[in-house]
């Protein structure tokens, strides 16, 4: 059984068919690429899966359970976490505080508990969270920037931060929305290494929306191509590379 499936997923915005009858499926530990020209409906698909938008029709199934129309925070709690193209981190908080917020839900400590717990319990809780935050920062190599204001970091570092912040929620599926955009070659390599190690060490499935063809072809095991909200092709990277419809849709792109 696929980990995540969409069945005939459709989203219409009064007159505009953003996504039409899209069938996607992702298996455990798979890296799936979702590609298509600008405006083809990739981000809308992510918005639908993560619950930010509700579909006009169609279903989303996670581990066989129908999660269509669930709230975004519920979907995140169930194990589907995404990154955003823009506004990826909390600009005004420090790097480590960003991580702390990201870890909040998983820390299992609610409002009432925070009020009633003794200073000793609070200290222990906080050091646990700090430990987890430090480990995540380690994975991305950002430890030396921990007390910096997140808004002061370079775009590449902020992207790395957003990925580990998504990791903090211990997702089963990671939705990466154009993770490579705005990064230089070195930063791309770092992010690729990060994504690979996530998949290898945690078995997390990854769906990547990406324009950088080189990265997609090299990293994704399976690719779905959409245009005008509809799936026009799917297959392994080599199949896609030779598919006439895909080449046509991308005429002029990298």
């Amino acid at each position: 059984m696929a980990l995540l499936e969409t069945k005939k997923l459709t989203k219409r915005f009064s007159g505009l068919n953003a996504v039409t009858a899209l069938d996607l499926s992702v298996n455990k530990g798979q890296i799936l690429g979702l590609i298509g020209p600008n405006g083809s409906g990739k981000t809308t698909t992510f918005n639908l899966i993560s619950g930010v938008l509700h579909p006009t029709s169609g279903k989303i199934l996670f581990k066989g359970k129908d999660i269509t129309n669930y709230q975004p925070h519920t979907i995140a709690r169930m194990g589907i976490i995404r990154t955003f193209q823009l506004a990826t981190v909390f600009q005004d908080l420090s790097v480590v505080d960003n991580l702390q917020v990201a870890l909040h839900y998983k820390s299992g400590v609610g409002f009432l508990q925070m009020l009633l717990e003794t200073p000793e319990m609070a200290r222990r809780q906080n050091s646990l969270v700090l430990e987890k935050a430090t480990k995540l920062l380690d994975i991305a190599g950002l430890n030396n920037l921990a007390s910096q204001k997140a808004g002061n970091l370079s775009a590449g570092h902020q992207k790395l931060m957003s990925v580990i912040m998504a990791l903090a929620g211990e997702p089963e599926i990671l939705l990466l929305d154009e993770p490579m955009s705005g990064l230089n070659a070195e930063e791309i390599q770092t992010l690729i290494r990060l994504v690979k190690s996530i998949r290898e060490e945690r078995g997390t499935s990854i769906i990547m929306v990406e324009h950088n063809m080189k990265v997609v072809m090299e990293q994704c095991e399976y690719i779905v191509v959409i245009n005008f909200g509809q799936k026009i092709a799917e297959g392994t990277p080599s199949q896609i590379a030779n598919d006439k419809r895909v080449i046509e849709a991308y005429l002029g792109s990298e």
């Binding site: 930010v52 709230q71 995140a76 909040h104 839900y105 009020l115 903090a168």
Partner: protein, 332 residues
């Protein structure tokens, strides 16, 4: 959150001084001023807290009034003892906040402000018109003075203002402990992020709506408790005591002091209280002066009085990019 020694020492010193003040100062006028200040501080910190999740609440007097009316109604008509009514006076406005929240909290910040303005006007009308419950313009008068028995001593609130002073002081200290604890913790960071990027938070499994609800209910709970002290202290509860004008005054106090920190809310409210003292002679000019303050603060001092030292420091020094205590709590 670990505070440097002087930061814990200073507030303790202030509280100690405030505890000792009535011994040296018997003038009821000054005791009264301080008591009013304490109650206003409780209201202001609640407004700050909601401000941190991106919502500006001009209707704090509504919840304050609900607490006061709860005490009036339960003491006079149901004859419950004061100590029992006191927590109920916090729960009633908190419950109203929860109901109002279901509708109001789903809106964007600016709409919420308009909604609170509307709520304030609405509740004043309700207080005046629902005569069977609130007794209209006349309100509840006189409110019997509580008698509390502590360690065998009877504290008679009717004899002087001193018991009210201490009750107010206790409430404001408890409120401060509560809010400084919360806002210094991870929840404080979460709440500050609520105001800024809700999608990102939802993605972390945090229900933004629930966080806003919790914040709102807590702030109205404390407002109600302050109202519970206000009712017997004033001996009268009537609709004219809870106006939108007061609500705006409280919001301005938080803004002037610095809406990014509970300390800012305290400084600003004290500032407004002192200003109010001088302005009692010029009631005609009040709106003009308040407008002027608002204008000046928004233009030149958006982070308020408490934000001034950091801004001056930042202008002098080169910024190293390191997060200062203040920097990562800026409102603007």
């Amino acid at each position: 959150m670990k505070l440097p020694k002087w930061q814990t020492f200073f507030p303790v010193l202030i509280v100690l001084l405030l505890c000792l003040l009535p011994i040296f100062m018997h003038s009821p006028r000054y005791l009264s001023l301080f008591d009013q200040l304490f109650l206003n501080l409780v209201l202001a910190i609640g407004v700050y807290s909601l401000w941190s999740v991106g919502l500006i609440n001009a209707a704090q007097p509504v919840f304050f009034g609900l607490g006061a009316y709860t005490v009036a109604i339960l003491i006079i008509r149901v004859h419950l003892p004061y100590w029992l009514i006191f927590p109920i006076a916090g729960i009633v406005p908190a419950a109203i906040a929860a109901i109002f929240g279901f509708l109001g909290l789903k809106m964007k910040g600016s709409y919420f402000l308009f909604l609170t303005i509307a709520l304030c006007e609405l509740m004043v009308w309700v207080f005046s018109s629902w005569k069977s419950l609130f007794r209209g313009q006349v309100g509840y008068f006189p409110i019997p003075q509580p008698v509390i028995n502590i360690f065998g001593h009877s504290v008679r609130f009717s004899e002087s203002l001193t018991p009210y002073y201490y009750l107010g002081l206790i409430l404001v200290v408890v409120t401060c402990l509560f809010y400084f604890r919360i806002h210094g913790s991870r929840i404080g960071r979460v709440w500050e992020s609520v105001g800024k990027n809700e999608n990102l938070l939802a993605n972390m499994g945090i229900s933004v709506f629930s966080q806003k609800q919790i914040c709102f209910i807590a702030s109205c709970f404390f407002a109600g408790l302050a109202g519970a002290i206000y009712a017997p202290y004033m001996t009268v509860v009537s609709p004219t005591q809870f106006t939108l004008w007061q609500g705006i005054w409280i919001v301005l106090g938080v803004l002037v002091g610095g809406a990014f920190s509970p300390i800012g809310a305290i400084i600003g409210t004290v500032f407004m209280a002192i200003l109010n003292l001088y302005l009692t002679k010029f009631t005609q000019l009040q709106p003009l002066i308040l407008g002027l303050i608002l204008f000046l603060v928004l233009l030149f001092m958006p982070s308020g009085l408490f934000g001034l030292p950091e801004r001056i420091k930042a202008k002098i020094k080169d910024s190293t990019g390191k997060v200062s205590e203040l920097e990562h709590k800026k409102i603007v």
